[in-house]
């Protein structure tokens, strides 16, 4: 399956490489570039070309190392270049004009590509309030029989023991359940969901009821792992991220790195299935209560004068 974000990433990085490819000749072969663009008759052209070359190198650094949306800086640069070339075109004739026209056409094509890639970054699924559907996957292998693993998950009331964002799930008994999740500022948000698929030992699906504040659906698959490796558990979650305030709420629920959050949830699920508990360290003392993990203290305070209670 092709991940659209990965494609955007590749495109953005490719433009970064292209920026470097354009910038370097402008700086080291300024005269040749001036001839190519038909502006070798202008004493000021080399300076402009070198400035553009330097700017291209900045683009390259931004696009190769920075976030995807920096590709918009290229679009801005293209607009500048088109304006400059437009002026060059206006006062030239003959062969120079032909070369300047060709250069302008090339820049226009580059602009189109930049705008296209830039517009893709608007559709990225980062769960940071950008509207649109969001799909998350994660898998883990659990050292238990599929039937056992299925049974634990099938009781939705168990989910908050390992799912970070959930506060509680209450089953109504008719396939419907009420889910309550942690919202910002210690508040909570809840919605109702129904069971939409149930194949014992193999698959469970659920979906929020229409009109829910957090529109979501999920499926978990269980399959025997090869050899004595237990059960492969694969989760697919769908969230509908609306625009505006509601979207920000969903984004908060999913955290900065939604995919990582799902993986961490599954890891805690494995801990519970294999060891009967969520593992806690001194750095993460609230292990079993997953929602407290966000408030973990990073380390022991260097100076705390609490006395020993062992002696």
């Amino acid at each position: 399956m092709q991940n659209p974000e990965r494609t955007t990433d590749r495109l953005v990085r490719a433009l970064g490489v292209a920026s470097a490819g354009l910038g370097v000749p402008m700086l080291v072969r300024t005269d040749a570039v001036a001839r190519f663009a038909g502006v070798d008759d202008d004493a000021g052209a080399p300076l402009v070309i070198q400035a553009v070359g330097a700017r291209e190198l900045v683009h390259a650094a931004l696009l190769l190392l920075g976030p995807h949306r920096t590709v918009w800086t290229r679009v801005a640069g293209d607009a500048m270049d088109l304006a400059v070339l437009g002026r060059a075109l206006a006062d030239r004739k003959g062969e120079r004009r032909a070369r300047a026209t060709a250069a302008t056409a090339a820049v226009a094509a580059i602009t189109a590509a930049d705008v296209w890639v830039a517009s893709r970054t608007l559709r990225e699924q980062h769960g940071r309030g950008r509207p649109g559907p969001l799909q998350l996957h994660a898998s883990v292998t659990v050292q238990q029989e599929p039937q056992e693993v299925y049974r634990f998950w099938r009781d939705f009331e168990n989910l908050p023991t390992f799912m970070l964002h959930l506060r509680s799930v209450t089953e109504h008994g008719d396939g419907r359940s009420r889910w309550e999740a942690n919202a910002p500022l210690r508040r909570s948000v809840s919605w109702d969901a129904e069971l939409t698929g149930d194949e014992p030992g193999r698959r469970i699906s659920w979906k929020s009821l229409p009109g829910s504040r957090v529109a979501n659906a999920g499926t978990v698959h269980f399959a025997p792992a090869p050899g004595d490796r237990g059960t492969e558990v694969k989760v697919v979650l769908h969230y509908d991220v609306p625009g505006g305030r509601a979207g920000r709420l969903v984004a908060k629920l999913l955290g900065e790195e939604p995919e990582q959050q799902v993986r961490d949830d599954l890891r805690r699920f494995k801990q519970v299935m294999e060891t009967g508990r969520v593992v806690r360290s001194d750095g993460l003392p609230s292990g079993a209560d997953a929602r407290h993990q966000v408030a973990q203290r990073p380390a022991q305070p260097v100076k705390s004068e609490r006395a020993s209670n062992h002696r």
């Binding site: 294999e274 969520v278 380390a299 705390s304």
Partner: protein
């Protein structure tokens, strides 16, 4: 309680910190009677391991008395004297069941952090950065020991702390380094690093049947110490290691090479050393790979390079061509201490392994910062520091 805390690179201090408490019914609280400073602690001390935070309690080699027990720990009693393996292991995942406890799949609550650097996560480790769980370490008066029904091993009263303390880490680590080589009678083994891990790797290689063990280091008292174990000592500052090893093995190279140096390997100031150090300082490489490179190039065709030295991330200029073309096998791992505890305890008891001659300094916990400095700079003949809390 008092504990040794990391403060900043090359700065540690003993502070009063909160006592540990039972967080889970499979926990124990151990009152530490002896604890040691490990070469691995030096990597944290120097700031080469990511995700160590000011205030973190260090130490993963410790033993002591059980003072509190969670309700599910039925194999121990309050008052038991135990050694505690440095890897934290659940005993129930597939890796644990296969005896590979240092890759326990459940004991690192921060596995996500480790995955980002290593792809998959190793186990949780006491006092060894947040990437391996953020567990408080054992250079302290008390430690919380998770999965206490799996790790701690009670030790006989007639054995002293110093005799058994190194079962927690460096003895099994050196042993596993040799064990992974699959030594056959007649094999020649070379060991890089005559520090505490090298010291035990050498003894283990002989125990497992090596005909000759060559030790490579440059610190005179360490080379002297391993000569007493019967090793042929090579001072890498006085010779070219690759050539010397060829000479010592009839041109074949050692059948197995054990690397017990780690990410802060030292070399003479050569271009490659400057290159490595610069890359490490600018974080574009996390390791100084001198010893591993040398081990790979030196090993005989078809031989084994067993890496016990700790590496954190990425290295440069790794001689992969030598590995591939010459059928070299690379083995590595944090030690699966649990599987070696009982057999090695027996070896100590029978006197097959000398565990105490390596100790050069015995200090109270309060003087731990001095211990770090001595061990780090290998000053004052320092080969291993044992700390005693309350002493």
């Amino acid at each position: 309680m008092r504990a040794l805390c990391w403060e900043a690179p090359a700065k540690v201090g003993v502070h009063t910190v909160p006592d540990p408490t039972l967080l889970d019914s499979r926990d124990a609280i151990v009152k530490v009677t002896s604890t040691a400073i490990c070469g691995s602690d030096l990597h944290l001390y120097d700031g080469y391991v990511p995700s160590v935070e000011p205030g973190d309690v260090l130490g993963h080699e410790f033993m002591g008395e059980v003072v509190e027990l969670g309700s599910e720990v039925t194999n121990l009693r309050v008052g038991d004297r135990v050694v505690v393996p440095f890897p934290i292991a659940c005993g129930q995942c597939r890796s644990c069941k296969r005896g590979l406890t240092s890759i326990c799949e459940n004991s690192n609550p921060n596995a996500g952090l480790a995955e980002k650097i290593m792809g998959h996560s190793p186990c949780g480790i006491f006092g060894y950065s947040h990437m391996t769980g953020g567990y408080a370490g054992g250079q302290a008066e008390y430690v919380r020991v998770p999965f206490a029904d799996v790790g701690p091993l009670p030790v006989p009263d007639d054995m002293t702390d110093e005799q058994v303390l190194f079962l927690t880490d460096i003895l099994p680590t050196g042993y596993m380094g040799a064990d992974l080589c699959g030594i056959e009678p007649g094999d020649v083994v070379a060991v890089w690093g005559a520090g505490p891990v090298g010291y035990f790797a050498i003894q283990s290689a002989y125990l497992l049947g090596a005909s000759k063990v060559i030790a490579i280091d440059r610190i005179p008292e360490r080379l002297k110490l391993v000569e007493k174990l019967g090793a042929h000592a090579v001072d890498y500052e006085q010779t070219t290691v690759l050539e010397e090893l060829r000479e010592l093995t009839g041109g074949r190279g050692p059948d197995h090479c054990i690397e017990a140096v780690g990410m802060e390997a030292h070399t003479d100031i050569t271009a490659i050393h400057v290159y490595d150090k610069a890359k490490q300082l600018t974080k574009s490489q996390t390791e100084r790979p001198q010893a591993v490179r040398e081990a790979v190039l030196s090993v005989a065709n078809g031989g084994t390079v067993s890496i016990t030295g700790v590496y954190g991330g990425f290295m440069d200029k790794f001689p992969i061509g030598s590995v591939m073309n010459r059928s070299v096998t690379i083995k590595a791992g944090q030690c699966h201490v649990h599987r070696y505890l009982r057999p090695l305890l027996e070896h100590i008891r029978r006197g097959d392994i000398d565990t105490t001659s390596v100790i050069s300094h015995r200090l109270p916990l309060e003087e731990a910062p001095k211990g770090y400095d001595l061990f780090k700079k290998k000053k004052d003949g320092c080969t291993k520091v044992v700390l005693t809390p309350g002493g």
